[in-house]
């Protein structure tokens, strides 16, 4: 399979293509569901959905990571999967402890989502169906992300790992998916990190010290268990370094979100942000590469803003999807309905407003636990609501669409509460509905009427607000 043109489309350099094309080709051969037609289709899809060079280069990093994952075992490396992992610091910590020569640590569903989704190969359904074939029944509304991870392994689309692990801090299902991969595919698995969020309703941003310590202690134990299994000592220093490396990515991510929000008309498509959102939350050791891609994207945003270029009309209604919208839905919103879809969701870090509870004398894991929980949207429905209100204010939204992923339990619940609170406290319209990365669940037109109607409501309310202000 000649991957040269595909690699050009995702902005591999000519040198990278020369060095890597046979390896990439082998990686795609191994997954068995990609052929030359898919490569051509991917090029067309990338052109359809992406408007920036930065986003294409981010896809190149995704292809590099996918290739490393597919080839790890052949290249004599241990392969570790972080399933639906909420804090990828685990991966970087182990890279810091063991180096990159001996292992590949990946969050497989990230690539399966990005590369096999509509923006690229559009073969996600094959993987979802593999999960269903091996037991994750479609009628139960399993989370598509977990289905991708399990379907990938059970369907022999991605290699069976040497170790599977998951945190279960944000969602119950990650560790359960690691558990079925472990038990049904005969893979050692570790699911020790645990979080309990039982503060009283409405208390966030106040935090409970017991919840913080419990998460910190269980995280440390989890790291040590994996370290023991791999025969490596993991220190706080390794973890600290991983935190810093990841923090370096969140800076450009926040800058991107803010520049995009400030640009009128919106300078880039929300789909241009998508690979960056995914790979900042789920990075590997290529943080410098990703930062470079961020810089390219930021430069493009600034240039377009300066020229007054955009992907939606100037003054377009500003709203958000809570979960990342499927590319064809995002396309409909931007190109057909002319909406400015901002994607702060779980990716936006609100300014911390409270003094920290955990001092520097405490260990790195407990300090991390506080920072993680304080970010919000962690196993607690009220903090979703709180952050949604902040986000609406910060990004000056005209309306809030609490659109949640079909099957995503932690993100779906607060929809009704978000609507009531935003409408009551801010006088901004809000709505909630489900959407899905799984194209079998609904078509863009099935959402069109909901979004169109909501756009009309936003327009009417905005006009009223402007009239009152005048």
């Amino acid at each position: 399979m000649d991957v040269t043109e595909f690699l050009r489309a995702v902005r591999y350099t000519e040198e990278e293509i020369e060095n890597e094309k046979y390896r990439v080709s082998e990686a795609f051969d191994k997954c068995k569901i990609i052929d030359e037609e898919d490569l051509k289709k991917a090029q067309a899809n990338l052109s359809r959905y992406l408007t920036t060079e930065g986003a294409r280069r981010a896809f190149a990093i995704a292809v590099m990571r996918f290739t490393d994952m597919m080839m790890a075992k052949d290249e004599g490396k241990k392969l570790i999967y972080l399933i639906h992992e909420e804090f990828p610091q685990i991966g970087l910590t182990f890279y810091n402890a063991m180096g990159r020569d001996k292992l590949v640590i990946e969050i497989p569903e990230t690539y399966l989502w990005l590369l096999f989704g509509q923006m690229c190969f559009d073969r996600m359904v094959d993987i979802l169906e593999a999960a269903e074939k091996y037991g994750m029944e479609i009628g139960v509304a399993h989370c598509p992300i977990d289905q991708l991870a399990y379907g990938g392994v059970a369907g022999d689309i991605i290699p069976k790992p040497d170790v599977a692990t998951s945190g279960g801090v944000f969602c119950d299902q990650g560790p359960k998916t690691a558990e079925i991969i472990g038990e049904l595919c005969d893979v050692p698995y570790f699911v020790t990190t645990d979080a309990c969020r039982d503060e009283s309703w409405g208390s966030f941003p106040e935090l409970d010290i017991d919840c913080i310590r419990f998460l910190g202690e269980s995280t440390e134990k989890h790291f040590n268990e994996i370290g023991d299994h791999l025969g490596v000592e993991v220190t706080e220093k390794h973890f600290r370094k991983a935190r810093v490396e990841i923090a370096m990515l969140w800076g450009p991510l926040q800058e991107t979100l803010q520049l995009t929000a400030d640009g009128d008309p919106r300078p880039i498509s929300c789909m241009d942000e998508e690979p960056f959102l995914q790979m900042t939350v789920y990075p590997d050791w290529r943080t410098k590469e990703l930062t470079k891609a961020f810089r390219t994207l930021i430069k493009e945003i600034k240039e377009r803003t300066a020229k007054g270029e955009g992907v939606v009309p100037k003054g377009a209604l500003r709203t958000t999807f809570f979960c990342d919208p499927r590319p064809d839905i995002a396309e409909m919103c931007e190109k057909e309905l002319g909406l400015n879809i901002l994607l702060p969701g779980i990716y936006w870090v609100a300014p911390f407003e409270k003094t920290r509870m955990i001092g520097k004398e405490e260990n790195e894991y407990v300090r991390f636990a506080e920072a993680y929980i304080r970010r919000g949207i962690v196993r607690c429905h009220w903090d979703h609501v709180y952050r949604a209100i902040e986000c609406t204010n910060h990004f000056k939204l005209d309306g809030y669409m609490a659109a949640y992923e079909y099957g995503c339990r932690p993100l779906c619940f607060p929809g009704r509460w978000i609507k009531d609170e935003i409408e009551e406290k801010l006088g901004i319209p809000a709505t909630y509905f489900e959407e899905s990365a799984d194209p079998r669940i609904h078509t863009p037109d099935q959402l069109r009427t909901k979004i169109e109607t909501f756009a009309s409501v936003m327009k009417i309310k905005k006009a009223k607000r402007e009239k009152q202000a005048a």
């Binding site: 037991g135 119950d172 299902q173 039982d198 196993r379 429905h381």
Partner: protein, 383 residues
């Protein structure tokens, strides 16, 4: 003995009894039946524990749609639906306690807070891994529960009151266990449906009455002559995530078709009776003992990580009760339990080598016809 009649009559009278008790100043503690909310502490505070576990009716499912997405565990949606509908049982508590281990169950208390902001509530998230850290966290939460109960009731929980309450609850568990053990026999003296009626009654009826009644039932069952008890086959085990009160369709169908439900295992809405709380020590020690029993000794919930202890426990029960076929009865959209099923199914297929049938429910009466066909066919394959 007419178990169904007696329990039916007492449960009907219970709402009135509790309203009268409230008028006299006794506080009612409603709780989600996760099996992680110790009734012992409630009783020790001079309050009445009241498990809220109604199920099997589609109407509350429809009502829950006002506040939660449809793909949430049917049992939890039912609880939310009853709150939306302002069902008198769900409006009764002075305090609602939810000790949950999965998102669906946490939604129940969220909806109390959202829909009934004046209701006193207490949240406890149960750790998901059985280890020392989890136990420590759970015991801390038991201390928080004690404080809350003392605050709402105005009564101090003392060593004496707590020990007495533990004894009452231990006795209840012992009696349920003794009755359950009788079901190991070839001639099973009590139907699966009757056993579940007794089990569910322990969530809502007065403890003194309940222990007395369980003793009577036990004596009566022991006195039954073997020749008066028919041998019903096949011997079936029913397992799943939660079995709400009145959600008895599988039991009724299996037993109406001549089979016998000899044992069941549900993590929620089924009183766990296998282990007791140690009664030695002062108040702090007794609370630790409660933590030890509820978090460590008791078989874990399906949402634990991993849940292999529960799967192995189910398999051991199936062996002990000479089960010929297993029915997995699952609420629609209970994804945690679905993972549990996937692993259990493999263990049953490879280790136990007995047939297994998976059924879903949304508490919709239109399911009945399909259930009849599937259960009938399953029983035929076992005969």
């Amino acid at each position: 003995m007419n178990i169904k009649g007696t329990i039916g009559q007492k449960t009907t009278e219970r709402l009135v009894e509790l309203e009268l008790a409230k008028e006299e100043g006794t506080k009612i503690v409603g709780y989600y039946p996760s099996e992680y909310m110790p009734e012992e502490l409630v009783l020790a505070a001079g309050m009445i524990p009241y498990g809220l576990l109604k199920a099997g009716d589609y109407t509350p499912i429809l009502h829950s749609g006002v506040v939660v997405p449809r793909w949430q565990d049917t049992f939890c949606r039912a609880q939310i639906g009853y709150i939306v509908m302002k069902d008198p049982h769900y409006m009764l508590p002075d305090l609602y306690v939810d000790a949950w281990s999965h998102f669906g169950a946490s939604l129940v208390i969220d909806n109390y807070d959202f829909l009934m902001p004046d209701m006193e509530t207490l949240r406890i998230e149960v750790p998901h891994v059985k280890n020392e850290a989890g136990l420590k966290f759970y015991i801390k939460r038991m201390c928080r529960l004690k404080e809350k109960l003392e605050e709402v009731s105005g009564n101090k929980i003392t060593e004496e009151s707590l020990r007495a309450a533990i004894k009452v609850c231990n006795r209840e568990r012992e009696l349920l266990k003794e009755i359950a053990l009788l079901r190991k026999q070839e001639r099973v003296p009590i139907s699966g449906l009757e056993f579940m009626l007794l089990n569910h009654a322990t969530y809502i009826l007065d403890k003194e009455f309940m222990n007395g009644f369980l003793e009577e039932v036990l004596e009566d069952l022991k006195k039954k002559k073997p020749e008066d008890i028919s041998i019903n086959t096949p011997r079936v085990m029913v397992v799943g995530a939660a079995l709400g009160m009145a959600d008895y369709q599988v039991f009724e169908l299996v037993e109406d078709m001549g089979g016998q439900v000899v044992i069941e295992q549900f993590s929620e809405a089924m009183k766990d009776f296998y282990d007791n709380v140690d009664i030695e020590g002062d108040v702090d020690q007794l609370i630790s003992n409660i933590g030890d029993r509820y978090f460590m000794k008791k078989v874990c919930n399906f949402a634990f990580r991993p849940a292999s202890e529960r799967q192995d426990f189910i398999i051991q029960l199936a062996k002990d009760y000479k089960v010929q076929g297993m029915i997995w009865y699952q609420q629609l959209y209970q994804d945690n339990a679905d993972f549990d099923y996937m692993i259990l199914e493999k263990k049953v297929r490879e280790g136990l080598k007995i047939p297994m049938l998976k059924l879903y429910t949304e508490y919709d009466s239109s399911e009945k016809a399909a259930l009849v066909t599937r259960i009938e066919t399953f029983l035929k394959t076992l005969r």
